[in-house]
Amino acid sequence: MMSDSNTFEPKIVAFVCNWCTYAGADLTGTSRLKYATNVKIVRFPCTGRIDFLFLLKSFAQGADAVIVSGCHPNDCHYTSGNFHARRRWIAFRAILDLMGIDVRRIQFSWVSAAEGAKWADLVNNTVSDIRALGPYTEYQKVAEYLEKEGFDGEA
């Protein structure tokens, strides 16, 4: 598809918590800070609500990278949602890495409601990282398996 890295525009899905990062991203806008438009934001009540399957589904449906961001430790609106989430991501990254899934394509972050500039940096840096890595076709082409011939299960 888009093999030329100059024309490749990464598709990035960001799963963010309502109380910190979403408000932070809002501040980025109201502060008139410019940042890459490659990101689609999905708002959740808390990082604790972000199921790992959301991330897998994003990749299967064509995302080249995923951002997961919420409140800094001790800032969680629900006291410990982000601590639970942190544990989940430690385990999830370990499993994905064992399975050979490219964990560089998942960017975790803490962005508070006051860190509009940090959000812009996070998105910009992720976009440039993923631009360098290229599209995640390795994963996406497996998702389209059913279209192909054959019943022997070979991917």
């Binding site: 449906q61 011939e149 019943f151």
Partner: protein, 336 residues
């Protein structure tokens, strides 16, 4: 039907001719410590010296997952793309065991019971089955107890029985078999009069099918089901390796304004298989599901479709994690 002889060299030439005809060829291949059907391009890839492939060949005519149709909504109009029978390539199934070849009849009987299944029939009509008579068997094999045998021709288009010289007795059974043989006509020479049975495994019958069926007719309320199924874990391993199990599920795969409807394997052993939306489950216990599995194969199918739903391949016994050995269970019912 015609019996011929084909030499080792002739077999190689014929196989190459099939490859050259651009048909897909699936044959047993050894990989990851198992033997299973894979697409092959040369005879040397085909596995030797194994009792049975882990999975049956039914996926060739009943894929694990298949798109029934797909659709897309554009400007308020729905464009429908139906399954196209012509998209199915001509396929040769090579080195199928007679028990698998025999499985095509019960499978087709199910798929054509009340209405003709377009997909299954499209696959079947483009499939040629070359079976090999069995020279070896193990303690799970019992084809001879269910109307089959190591040299049974049921379901095969052409059957080879390997001879010590590397050649084979070639029995050309159907017109499809004839067409396939005609790809390399000079490889097939006059029958030398070899005794086929001398090159097949001797497998005495393990139970009497009539006796089992007459016992099963009265066994619906028997305590045998509960007793036999106690250790059953309720997975689908037996059903998925079976050459005749045909249960399927219909699923929807929707993305925005487009999607597709998919048919995929399911199993009557799963506890959710018969669960109603209301919450009622007519087969609530594993014993009822085990009874369904056995009665469906040995009672319902013979009654309604006039064909036994088990070909004695023994795969379920080999695949079961907790040794639900079908031969042992059937034999014990026969002996009751």
């Amino acid at each position: 039907m015609e019996t011929k002889y084909i030499s080792k060299e002739g077999l190689g030439r014929w196989f190459d001719a099939i490859v050259a005809s651009e048909k897909r060829i699936y044959a047993p291949v050894k990989s990851r410590g198992q033997v299973d059907f894979k697409q092959v391009k040369s005879l040397s890839e085909v596995a030797d010296e194994y009792i049975q492939t882990t999975q049956s060949i039914k996926a060739a005519v009943f894929p694990k997952a298949e798109i029934l149709f797909s659709y897309e909504k554009v400007n308020g109009k729905v464009n429908l793309t139906d399954f196209d029978p012509n998209s199915v390539p001509e396929t040769v199934l090579w080195k199928v065991h007679p028990c698998d070849a025999a499985g095509f009849r019960p499978l087709s009987a199910i798929f054509n019971w009340d209405s003709a299944d377009k997909l299954h029939n499209a696959h079947l009509s483009r499939t040629t089955i070359v079976s090999y008579g069995c020279a070896i068997a193990d303690e799970s094999c019992f084809c001879t107890s269910v109307n089959g045998g190591p040299g049974n021709l049921n379901g095969s288009d052409l059957q080879l029985t390997m001879l010590p010289d590397g050649g084979a007795i070639a029995e050309i059974i159907t017109a499809r078999g004839e067409t396939l043989a005609s790809l390399c006509p000079d490889a097939f020479v006059a029958d030398r009069g070899d005794d086929k049975s001398a090159h097949l495994v001797d497998l005495p019958a393990r139970f009497s099918l009539e006796e089992v069926q007459s016992k099963l007719n009265k066994a619906f309320d028997s305590s045998v089901w509960k007793q036999q199924s106690e250790r059953c874990l309720g997975c689908g391993a037996c059903a998925f390796v079976c050459p005749t199990c045909a249960c399927f599920d219909i699923q929807e795969d929707v993305h925005g304004s487009k999607g597709r409807r998919i048919r995929c394997w399911d199993a009557c052993g799963f506890s959710l298989f018969t669960l109603h939306t209301s919450g009622h489950n007519p087969r609530e216990h594993q014993s009822q599901r085990w009874r369904q599995r056995i009665l469906h194969k040995f009672s319902y199918m013979p009654e309604r479709l006039n064909v036994v739903g088990c070909t004695g391949c023994g795969r379920c016994s080999r695949a079961c994690p907790v040794d639900m050995n079908i031969l042992e269970h059937i034999t014990s019912i026969a002996e009751q």
